[in-house]
């Protein structure tokens, strides 16, 4: 049992923290949000120069070979500044799928370019009726001459507009086997409809109308991707919990500062016991979340097992509940100012709540845990 970072991990955390602090003020974020890409290509380049885009990628593919703890450290800082770049979906989720499912040739072709930051990946795994269940797919793949044809539509593909390659999940026609296809967003038959999400990052919907995919661009064996998707969603969830933790810490810090400076009835409002107790409760939720973020980081790369799934579900559940509580209470304790677009707190609140809409919310994971719960 050891909850300390080693020297290398501490350096990694310091590096990201410094970069984020220097680049990502709230005002700058607002400008990035308004820009055509919806994030900062310059910041992405800096992440790449410092080797940060390579952290989650395996050492065999010019990556840093980081694990759950390294991902946690990066994501926590990106969360603290509400960064808009699709790091999680590209470097952790997308790259993880390629690394687990891809052939040697595919991995060598794709991952070094992802590690360097040159190629962004995106994962299209949600549909109209999927509702966090990656198996529940209407999108189909029909075999055709030397390849496949994809038919269907995908929803809320985070970072899909700027990705050079989209990992699309589809059912092989007439089976329920799930497969991941590498799709070029510029291919014939792909219609990309982009939009900003309410918490800042951009996403898109995809319409796939007979999109041709070569046999070489199918990841793994046809119909056999289910376990890998579940496993990689687990890794992504663990990292996303860390992102939420960074944002919670910042929302908590802003609120505590506010309680100490805002005066009403002739005294700082932090002198009032009802607000002190609320703040103590928020601190309690924050610490529980931190504990589960650490647990998730430590088990994210364990071999697949019910125990791993249970722990990750529990982490997502506890973090989602804490996120929503801290989001709502931070706004409440700020009063009107917490409701304004111009104040960063409001954007943390939005991010904290909306993160629960990816990879399953608290209800989803409560159900997952309940199904796998060991019974005396």
């Amino acid at each position: 049992m050891d909850f300390d970072l080693n020297e290398e991990q501490q350096m990694l955390a310091d590096t990201v923290q410094r970069l984020v602090r220097n680049t990502y003020s709230f005002e700058q974020r607002e400008a990035f949000y308004q820009s055509p890409e919806g994030y900062s290509p310059e910041f992405w380049r800096q992440l790449s120069e410092l080797g940060m885009t390579s952290v989650p990628i395996g050492a065999d593919y010019e990556g840093f070979g980081g694990g759950g703890v390294e991902n946690m450290l990066v994501m926590q800082e990106l969360g603290r500044a509400l960064c808009l770049e699709p790091y999680l979906h590209s470097q952790i989720y997308g790259a993880g799928l390629v690394e687990q499912l891809g052939s040697a040739e595919q991995r060598q072709r794709i991952l070094p370019r992802v590690a360097s930051g040159e190629l962004q990946l995106s994962v299209a795994d949600e549909e109209a009726g999927s509702h966090y269940h990656p198996d529940s797919l209407a999108c189909t793949a029909m075999p055709c001459d030397r390849g496949w044809r994809l038919q269907g539509s995908k929803r809320v593909v985070i970072g899909g507009e700027t990705a050079g390659m989209i990992l699309v999940t589809a059912r092989i026609s007439d089976t329920d086997g799930v497969t991941v296809f590498l799709v070029d967003p510029a291919a014939d038959g792909v219609l990309v409809t982009g939009y900003p999400c309410i918490d800042g990052p951009r996403a898109c919907d995809l319409t796939l109308d007979g999109v041709y995919v070569e046999s070489d661009d199918l990841l793994g064996k046809p119909g056999k991707a289910r376990a890998a998707i579940a496993y990689q969603r687990g890794r992504a969830m663990a990292a996303q919990c860390a992102e939420a933790l960074g944002s919670m810490e910042e929302a908590f810090r802003l609120t505590l500062d506010y309680l100490k400076t805002r005066q009403q009835f002739g005294t700082p409002i932090g002198r009032f016991q009802s607000l002190q107790h609320r703040m103590a409760e928020m601190r309690g939720e924050l610490e529980l979340a931190r504990s589960m973020v650490i647990l998730a980081a430590c088990v994210a790369d364990d071999p697949d097992s019910d125990e791993r799934t249970r722990r990750l579900a529990a982490a997502k559940f506890v973090v989602a509940r804490a996120s929503q509580f801290i989001a709502e209470q931070s706004i409440q304790l700020h009063g009107g100012i917490g409701m304004t677009w111009e104040y960063s707190l409001a954007h943390h609140a939005k991010r904290l709540v909306m993160l629960t809409h990816q990879f399953g919310d608290d209800d989803y994971h409560q159900q997952t845990f309940a199904e796998l719960m060991s019974v005396a």
């Binding site: 103590a280 529980l288 719960m373």
Partner: protein, 398 residues
């Protein structure tokens, strides 16, 4: 960074498990599992078994006859004992007054009292709360006036847990009424059979006799029974409270209670199917289990941080709140799991010596009583609201 116990710690866990398997009497474990009340002799029996193994004074250094265990070993021991259904060690002597005597007592006091605690000769109870001094403990009024080489004590203590079994009591008394609140208090040891002490039971809402009122009417206490300096008792009190709060998250007890909840929910049926397969009820169990996992991780983080000998700070206040809320949530579900069978108030089935046929199931009698009894968790040891005040002041600096 890793969440695993070391091989040595795992080996220690196995050793504890083997010991419990060998030495914990089955009838005692059964009583604990079913939530029956324990007799004084039940506690004494278990204490003697632990003492024979040298595992009674887990918080003591080796020089005083303790185990000298690390905080992690203590956590493991506590967890395994709870899961096996061992009776909870009554803390007042071994884990509360003993650390104070070790820290503030003189040589004579150490040599006299500590061995008697270890051997079980003395059963201690705690004289802290008073009718007018609960959360505001420093408002206590029980007076101790110097009269030659004695103190004369007058006043009243209350909520004295298991005082009916005790032959000794440690008390916070006011020795200087003129001083500011915290400054005129002293830490005094007394014999329960001293003339002028009267113990009166308080029956709690579950019908149990667990706590008492203790009255002091011109009780003469030898001045040598003062621990530490006169008027410096508040220092002892605060020191003791940090010990009281450590481990109050009660992870082991909550895990054991969760096991029992699952047993009950598996045995109870609705529409001919086990209650535990009812999606709504199962989801509620899942929720507390997930939260318990988070509190356990927080506990392990604090253990790791204090492994080098540090004292847990105000973070333990958070654990006290969260641990108590979880145990209350589990006892809530246990009661609900019984449905209408939670209603019969079958005190005789809860008695230590009960051996008859239970009216319903063997597990049905206790949960409703326990649910009400467990309301105490968020009140004692500094109410959860007081803990929030501590966090606001010490951690948040509000």
């Amino acid at each position: 960074m890793n969440i695993h116990f070391t091989p040595d710690e795992q080996a220690f866990r196995e050793e504890v498990r083997a010991f419990l398997k060998q030495n914990l009497p089955a009838d005692l474990a059964e009583k604990v599992r079913l939530g029956r009340r324990l007799a004084k002799t039940d506690h004494q029996r278990w204490q003697a078994i632990l003492d024979a193994q040298g595992w009674y004074a887990v918080n003591w250094p080796v020089e005083y006859g303790g185990t000298g265990w690390s905080v992690v070993q203590k956590h493991i021991f506590d967890e395994e004992c709870s899961l096996a259904g061992a009776p909870r060690v009554v803390s007042f002597g071994v884990n509360m007054v003993a650390p104070v005597i070790m820290k503030f007592g003189n040589q004579v006091q150490k040599e006299y009292y500590l061995p008697r605690i270890l051997s079980g000769e003395d059963w201690w109870c705690q004289g802290y709360s008073e009718p007018g001094a609960g959360s505001d403990l420093a408002g206590l009024k029980t007076r101790a006036e110097k009269d030659g080489d004695h103190y004369v004590v007058n006043g009243q203590k209350t909520w004295t847990t298991l005082g009916q079994h005790a032959n000794k009591i440690f008390c916070l008394v006011r020795t200087d009424p003129a001083a500011k609140k915290q400054e005129g208090i002293s830490f005094l040891l007394m014999d329960m059979d001293s003339p002028g002490i009267t113990v009166r039971p308080i029956i709690t809402l579950d019908g149990e006799h667990e706590v008492n009122e203790v009255f002091f009417d011109n009780v003469r206490v030898p001045a040598e029974n003062l621990v530490g300096e006169e008027n410096k008792g508040w220092t002892c009190a605060k020191y003791l409270l940090t010990h009281e709060r450590t481990g109050q998250a009660g992870i082991g007890l909550s895990k054991a209670a969760l096991d029992q909840l699952k047993r009950i929910a598996s045995a109870e049926t609705v529409h001919g199917k086990p209650l535990i397969n009812d999606p709504m009820f199962r989801a509620r169990i899942a929720e507390v289990e997930m939260r318990l996992m988070a509190v356990e991780m927080s506990t392990l983080r604090i253990l790791a941080a204090t492994r080098g000998g540090g004292v847990p700070g105000a973070e333990s206040s958070l654990l006290k709140i969260q641990g108590s809320e979880i145990r209350q949530a589990i006892t809530n579900l246990m009661r609900k799991a019984l449905g209408p069978s939670a209603l019969p108030f079958l005190e005789q089935e809860l008695e230590p010596e009960f051996e008859g046929e239970p009216l319903h199931e063997d597990y049905s009698a206790a949960p409703a009583s326990q649910y009400f009894n467990m309301r105490k968790l968020s009140i004692y040891g500094g109410s959860n609201e007081i803990q929030k005040n501590i966090i606001a002041k010490m951690v948040l600096e509000l």
